[in-house]
């Protein structure tokens, strides 16, 4: 009586990709896709698969008499929050609201920023988990920097509304971890949509998924390699060496545009963007000693690793990671499903926090993503019980602004502050209680989910005529 899904995800899919970098526009919904020039980023000037995200028009909303957790250190009892046109206008004990604002009574309820999962395979490993829906690992070559998760992402994945109901407003959808370099991630607003383009977080840069350890060597060990950890390292180094040369060729051509441009190589184009700092490396890596190796690799080629994902042993080198400025995207308590996961402990996030690092809780699971708040609660109290003084605000940051930072979006989402995008969750009670649930989820000011109103409980096309609606008898 085993749960196959966790294990399958952990073994075949689990991993991280990269987030975005630079300063995305302050009003992403209005500004549309960030314009880029050949000189500052991409090798070729052409439309780069643009976001078509548009904010839904909504009346202003004011939530009153709630306990508001801002993720900026404040816990406002009997507080209010007003948001309008997709932006947070005011948060505090007393908030003026316009006459046309929808008033939500928050008595007994809690309000937090929308939750962010920086490690999801929603849409690329969609449900039902058939071979036909298995689009997360391009396991045909150990280096596939040329593939993009958005080209696999299926917006009708029935797991999407489940995650929305858990209070998730932004995800990073990643390729799996079969490959040393698995491809680009997709940074998405988690909303019902017909196309992935409508979900792409405007202005977000791509991430690059890389993977250490057991998975690549298991997948390629009998298919030409790598078959060892040293082979893994040689594989990354070889790829980035080529990318350095490729970048030089394009940089030279970009100076004067003389003659024919160099031939495009989609694999190296992505890696060159990593070297230019425009794509963040999100690195699936379990063991402490391997993370240290990957930091050396990053130093060799002059890029930063934005986050180590899974990082079950990050507590062993928390000081090193804090110094490096690399965040750690971890589970609350997963361990033991493979050898490199043997040393997982429940205090991992807390110990990284204590060391001055930037921990966050990720899901890597269509189940776990629905209760990221519970996972953060477990990790927080495990720390507290071990004498590590984690605050509720810090634990909230593990599932809001810290993942936002990992995606390069912390100036736009992740806290409840005036000017930030109105990604807001209303909880039935303390979000760190097992008995609390998200009752309302606003994404960019749009009420995408309301537990008490079937009109705001989106169902994907897949579910129609297949799943009995909750409460039905069939």
């Amino acid at each position: 009586m085993q749960r196959p899904s966790y294990l399958l995800v952990a073994l075949s899919a689990a991993c991280a990709s990269a987030g975005a970098r630079g300063t995305p526009p302050a009003t992403p919904a209005a500004a549309g896709p960030r314009s880029q020039t050949a000189a500052d980023s991409l090798s070729v000037e052409r439309a780069q698969y643009p976001s078509t995200y548009r904010r839904h028009t909504n009346p202003p909303v004011v939530i009153r008499n709630a306990t508001i957790l801002t993720a900026t250190g404040q816990e406002i009892v009997n507080g209010s929050i007003l948001f309008k046109d997709g932006r947070i206008v005011a948060v505090g004990p007393r908030v003026e609201s316009p006459a046309d604002a929808v008033v939500v009574d928050g008595t007994g309820k809690y309000v937090t920023p929308g939750l962010i999962d920086d490690h999801s395979h929603l849409g690329v490993y969609a449900a039902p988990g058939t071979d036909a829906e298995s689009d997360g690992n391009e396991a045909t070559n150990p280096v596939t920097a040329e593939v993009w998760a958005e080209h696999s992402f299926w917006p009708q994945d029935p797991q999407v509304p489940l995650a929305i109901a858990g209070g998730i407003t932004t995800i990073q959808a990643l390729p799996g971890s079969a490959n040393l370099i698995g491809g680009r991630s997709a940074i998405l607003k988690l909303i019902p949509a017909r196309t992935v383009q409508e979900m792409k977080f405007p202005g977000a840069h791509y991430g690059l998924k890389m993977a250490c350890g057991e998975n690549p060597k298991r997948v390629y060990g009998k298919r030409g390699g790598p078959s060892t950890r040293m082979g893994n390292m040689a594989g990354y180094r070889g790829a980035f060496s080529q990318a350095e040369a490729y970048r030089r060729r394009w940089d030279a051509w970009n100076k004067d545009n003389k003659g024919d441009p160099p031939e495009r190589n989609l694999r190296l184009e992505t890696l060159a963007e990593v070297l230019r700092g425009n794509i963040y490396v999100q690195n699936h890596c379990y063991r402490a000693d391997e993370m240290a190796q990957m930091l050396d690799l990053a130093h060799e080629f002059g890029f930063k690793i934005r986050s180590f994902h899974h990082a079950v042993e990050s507590y062993k080198i928390a000081d090193l990671l804090a110094k490096e400025g690399t965040s750690v995207s971890v589970w609350a308590d997963w361990w033991g499903f493979k050898e490199e996961a043997m040393d997982g402990i429940q205090q991992n996030a807390a110990l990284n926090q204590q060391a001055g690092g930037r921990p966050l809780i990720h899901s890597d699971s269509p189940s776990g993503i629905q209760r990221l708040n519970q996972e953060a609660a477990k990790a927080m109290y495990a720390g507290v019980r071990a004498g590590i003084p984690i605050t509720r605000d810090q634990a909230l940051r593990w599932i809001t602004v810290n993942p936002a930072w990992t995606l390069g979006l912390d100036s736009i989402v992740g806290t409840l502050e005036p000017g930030k995008m109105a990604d807001v969750v209303v909880w039935s009670g303390d979000p760190f209680s097992v008995y609390s649930k998200a009752v309302q989820v606003y994404n960019d000011g749009w009420l995408v989910y309301d537990r008490n109103d079937p009109a705001h409980q989106p169902r994907t096309d897949f579910q129609l005529g297949q799943e009995p609606p909750p409460g039905s008898d069939r």
Binding site: M1, R3, E339, M342, Y381, Y435
Partner: protein, 402 residues
């Protein structure tokens, strides 16, 4: 079961005791002697030689029982050498009792018990008939010492995975199961003829057919894993035909026919936090456990991720969140599994005469704020240590001292 116990008397005093068999008792004493619960109540005399555990302000419950998983049968999931829960190459593995695959030295055992889970199922997996599940206490230096009861049920898969073992059709699966049952009955009637090779060849080995006889006599439950409503109905139908004692497991769509399951008097093993749809379970939903309990089905909760069996309490808390009463949920991780696995005379509640598996919690066992303060298994206090607490101690201050 061989009890290895020192004669010891322990009194847990001042806590709020949740006996499960009856209403909670504030400021109560639980007296434990020689591994058994000797007395429970507010006027219990504490002998002078008793070791006292002060539980003032604490909650005292029976040790939690996980109705699923493979405790002791898996160490590292991805390392086949450490897995013992499946017998390869035998579609009908009825004779396969997992007991001798148990590893009493498994590091999962301390990791789990220090968080209040004291007893778990250890179930075989795979195939059409997976084999015999056993119930174990999370303490004991030998297999014999760990075992609470062996076997507690015969596991069979009436789900999408199981049909691959029977030609690829659900109908084929049901037919195969009936044929095996019929052969077992034939074998049981004509053992002498079988021994002289005077009957038609049967569709499973003599050992497997022999192992099915207790199931067909209604002595050993069939634990049928099924998710789709129609598969659950098939399990109920076959159980009626052969007068089996049935336990349903997984049961994603059971909420759709909760009344029918209740009428059949069949208990269910459910993992509340399962809700990802598959073609085996399009109707899967979080409210399953609650809706079954509401229909008066006997519900046992599972955490099937063996490494995180400790999250059984999170499963229970979420069952409450999605509609079970708190009392129902506590029962579903204590007394109900004891009843379903046939050990309620010894396990599942805090009552005189029962085995002293008792946990002292800092608060509501289902809440994340709550920690475990004391764990007693068979009346012995367990040190709250595991490989994970040792890793924590080693790396709490960096650099570590090796």
């Amino acid at each position: 079961m061989i009890a290895v116990l020192l004669a010891q008397t322990i009194a847990i005093t001042g806590g709020t005791v949740y006996p499960v068999s009856g209403p909670k008792i504030a400021n109560a004493t639980v007296l434990i002697r020689d591994g058994k619960i000797a007395a429970v109540g507010i006027n219990v005399a504490v002998p002078s030689d008793a070791t006292r555990i002060d539980a003032a302000g604490k909650w005292v419950t029976p040790g939690l029982i996980d109705g699923g998983g493979q405790m002791g049968l898996v160490e590292i999931s991805a390392v086949s050498g450490t897995r013992e829960g499946s017998l390869s190459g035998d579609t009908v593995a009825a004779a396969f009792n997992v007991a001798e695959g148990l590893n009493p030295a498994s590091m999962l055992i301390p990791v789990t018990r220090v968080e209040g889970v004291t007893t778990t199922l250890a179930a075989p997996e795979g195939h059409l008939i997976s084999g015999q599940a056993v119930l174990v206490d999370l303490d004991g230096g030998t297999i014999e010492q760990m075992l609470v009861k062996s076997p507690v049920g015969m596991v069979a898969r009436l789900n999408e995975d199981g049909k691959d073992e029977a030609g690829g059709s659900r109908a084929g699966l049901a037919q195969r199961l009936r044929r095996v049952f019929n052969d077992a009955l034939e074998y049981g009637r004509r053992k002498a003829d079988y021994g002289r090779a005077q009957i038609q060849p049967l569709s499973a080995s003599a050992a497997d057919l022999e192992a099915l006889l207790p199931v067909l006599r209604g002595q050993l439950p069939l634990i049928a894993r099924a998710n789709r409503k129609s598969d659950i109905e098939t399990a109920l139908r076959i159980a009626r035909e052969y007068k089996l004692k049935l336990i349903l497991a997984d049961v994603a769509e059971a909420w759709e026919i909760a009344d029918e399951i209740a009428r059949a008097g069949v208990p269910v093993l459910v993992q509340p936090l399962d809700n990802i749809p598959s073609y085996d379970a399009l109707g899967i939903r979080y409210e399953n456990a609650a809706l079954l309990a509401k229909a008066r089905v006997k519900v046992v909760l599972m955490e099937t991720d063996t490494h995180n069996a400790r999250n059984l309490r999170q499963q229970a808390g979420n069952a409450v969140s999605y509609g079970m009463s708190w009392d129902q949920a506590l029962r579903a991780v204590t007394l109900s599994p004891a009843e379903v696995f046939g050990v309620a005379d010894r396990y599942g509640s805090i009552e005189p005469g029962k085995v002293a598996n008792v946990v002292v919690w800092s608060g509501d066992p289902f809440e994340f704020t709550t920690g475990v303060e004391h764990v007693l298994i068979r009346g012995r206090e367990i040190a709250l240590k595991s490989r994970q607490t040792e890793l924590l101690e080693r790396y709490k201050k960096l650099p570590p001292k090796y």
